[in-house]
Amino acid sequence: MYPILKQIWKTGIKTEAYPQADEAMRLTTQRLQQEILDVFGGALAIRMVDAGSCNGCELEIHAVNNAYYNIEGLGIRFVASPRHADLLLVTGPVSRHMEVALKRTYDATPEPKLVVAIGECACDGGIFGESYASCGKISNVIPVDVVVSGCPPTPTAILQGILTAISAGHVAQK
């Protein structure tokens, strides 16, 4: 036990300041009322769905959980089922073989719900594009509220995307 405690003490607190929401990431105007957002903001549950990515974006979503970005410090946590989730974090492109599973995951998520598309491929199909095996961007398959580009996006950008989705901004960008 002693070496563990010593290591924890030596490591100290690594968590950095949290980023701000970024309205430029918003795809549609905020659909949810302030009351709901307040509840979400206090304890947001996220279900992550890989709809066909190269697994690069997953690495950065893992990193969002590390001590530096410490997403749980904001009351945001990743849950095991869409039925427990308020927000879907989706990476892509959506492969044709994941199209049905993604739609079902979306349907299984209770209203009100939000969707954040993570990564270049999720935003516009990326280098994989649309093909016999790929549906391209996430919004081709399910409604998307916020997009976070980057290949892969940094943990800070992912955090910003999530915070944007639950912030009350009313400015539609696209």
Partner: protein, 516 residues
């Protein structure tokens, strides 16, 4: 000559690694495979290409490896009867590769073989083949559900647990069907192919440089190894060698990728046995390495830093100093953490004996890479087929006999420390003069080249075929996960369901890399 057969004439690739190629009739394929198998060799990859325009045939490509090097056997198959002898009795790892080559190209093994589909679910019709040049994406489109017959286990008290494709964690999608009694697993069957996004077909529409970007995204966690293997294949066709400095930098990037992934996995392996401390600690270290990557090379995962012809990154004296400091920090911290893992009774109790793959089974099934070395499969391309600059580095291979989760953890620790040693060696050898990289613009016509690199997970192979105009006509990327996924089905047998995440993570296989 690595293989002697009266009907096989081998010619050596102009390659960074010892590799040969030759053509043989389908009837002689088994004999050649038998010879390699008898000599202790393995199957590395199997794929097909459509050569009907140039030669009026389909080609089957089988890459075998023995202690002399790689041998790529090309087997012409007629359009009317595109079949070949089933090589899976000799190399069980061939089963899924053969099934995938049917789904993608419509070439298939003869009697006895498993003829179920593999990468195809319901997105395109069964009689259409995406990698044929006359494939019509529109007409072939289908929306059928995936009617795949999973094997059912019968008996008193047996029940099934279906998991996926959408998994409970932050993981790639795939389906696992467990047949269990109580908590004990009788059988696991994997159904993959969910992240098949048409990578191989996509390559055919890209130029050499865009292709390098795509190669770096076959499996994001192995981006350096894929980019290097792709570049190696292209450079073999073009008969050029990058500058010495570029090669040293490539090795530096590859070892940094290994360090990153091993750090991440060691954290997760701690987490999977309820030592959240391990996850937190290792991921702090991983984050620091990624930040240094971003500072020095402009990308946290080093994507797009290797291109055919050389590298796109630089390293100056202050950068070298930063890496030296990082190595010292990692060595100090990981030594402490290794001590904690090894002294922790609860951790060792979960690690030791869990998910065991005996060396004999590993050899039979062709388990490769890092997981293979934990089951006494002493193969490491950096050692046996050391391409420059590894020929000057004298890599020490980590192997263990136990084949359990504990062994896969120890191999990771050993390889991590070895990578730190190699990184320091590389820094010493990086001379200061910056010879500019001459990016390879295009490739000669009708070329064929292969590249193989020992990525953190195992050997990554990329093969490039060019057409009469020198364009990419077929690119095949092979992930070691092809070999290792089927072995995971064996590793879980007789273990309890709650140990599956741990066993699975101890292999940490790629879905995207095998689904393509």
């Amino acid at each position: 000559m690595p293989i002697k057969h009266p009907n096989l004439k081998l010619s050596r690739f102009s390659d960074a690694i010892p590799a040969w190629t030759g053509e043989i009739a389908a009837a002689d394929l088994l004999e050649v495979c038998q010879q390699v198998r008898d000599g202790g060799g393995r199957l590395v990859a199997l794929w097909g290409s459509d050569a009907r325009q140039s030669r009026g045939v389909f080609l089957l490509h089988v890459v075998l490896v023995n202690e002399s090097g790689l041998v790529c056997i090309n087997v012409p198959l007629t359009e009317a009867h595109p079949h070949y002898p089933d090589i899976s009795p000799l190399f069980p790892a061939a089963i899924r590769m053969q099934r995938a080559s049917y789904d993608m190209l419509g070439i298939h093994p003869l009697e006895g073989a498993d003829h179920r589909k593999w990468v195809r679910h319901g997105a395109w019709h069964s009689a259409s083949f995406p990698l044929r040049k006359d494939f019509d994406a529109q007409a072939s489109r289908s929306d059928e559900a995936d009617d795949y017959a999973l094997v059912q286990v019968a008996g008193d008290g047996v029940h099934e647990i279906a998991v996926g494709p959408v998994h409970a964690g932050i993981i790639e999608p795939g389906h696992f069907r467990f047949s269990v009694i109580g908590e004990r697993v009788l059988r696991l069957e994997e159904r993959l192919g969910y992240v098949h996004k048409g990578i191989e077909k996509r390559f055919e529409s890209l130029d050499l440089q865009r292709g390098a970007k795509l190669a770096g995204r076959v499996s994001g966690d192995t981006t350096v190894a894929y980019a290097w293997a792709y570049a190696m294949a292209a450079e073999s066709i073009a008969r050029i060698t990058p500058t010495e400095r570029a090669l040293w930098l490539r090795a530096l990037l590859l070892e940094r990728e290994r360090v990153l992934n091993h750090l991440g996995d060691l954290g997760y392996l701690g987490n999977d046995v309820a030592l959240a401390f391990g996850l937190t600690q290792f991921w702090i270290l991983k984050e620091q390495v990624m930040r240094n990557n971003a500072t020095l090379f402009g990308h946290r995962y080093l994507m797009d830093s290797i291109v055919p012809g050389g590298v796109t990154v630089k390293l100056d004296a202050s950068g070298k100093q930063l890496i030296e400091q990082e190595c010292a920090m990692l060595e100090r911290e990981v030594t402490v953490l290794r001590g904690i893992y090894e002294e922790h009774a609860g951790v060792q109790d979960r690690f030791i004996g869990t998910g065991r793959v005996e060396p004999k089974l590993a050899a039979q099934l062709g388990l490769c890479g890092m997981a293979g070395r934990a089951s006494a499969q002493a193969w490491d391309a950096r050692v046996q087929f050391a391409c420059a600059p590894y020929d000057k580095l004298d890599v020490k291979m980590a192997t263990y006999n136990n084949g359990d989760v504990a062994a896969r953890v120890i191999v990771r620790f050993d390889e991590l420390f070895e990578s730190l040693r190699l990184i320091r060696q590389i820094l010493v050898n990086l001379i200061h003069e910056e010879a500019p990289t001459r990016v390879l613009e295009g490739l000669p016509a009708n070329g064929f080249g292969v590249g193989m690199v020992e990525g953190w997970r195992g050997e990554v192979l990329v093969a490039i075929h060019t057409d009469a105009e020198g364009k990419l006509t077929r690119v095949h990327a092979h992930d070691p996960s092809w070999q290792n996924w089927p072995v995971l089905e064996h590793a879980i047998i007789d273990n309890i369901v709650p140990d599956f995440p741990l066993i699975n993570k101890s292999f940490n296989l790629s879905y995207s890399g095998q689904d393509l």
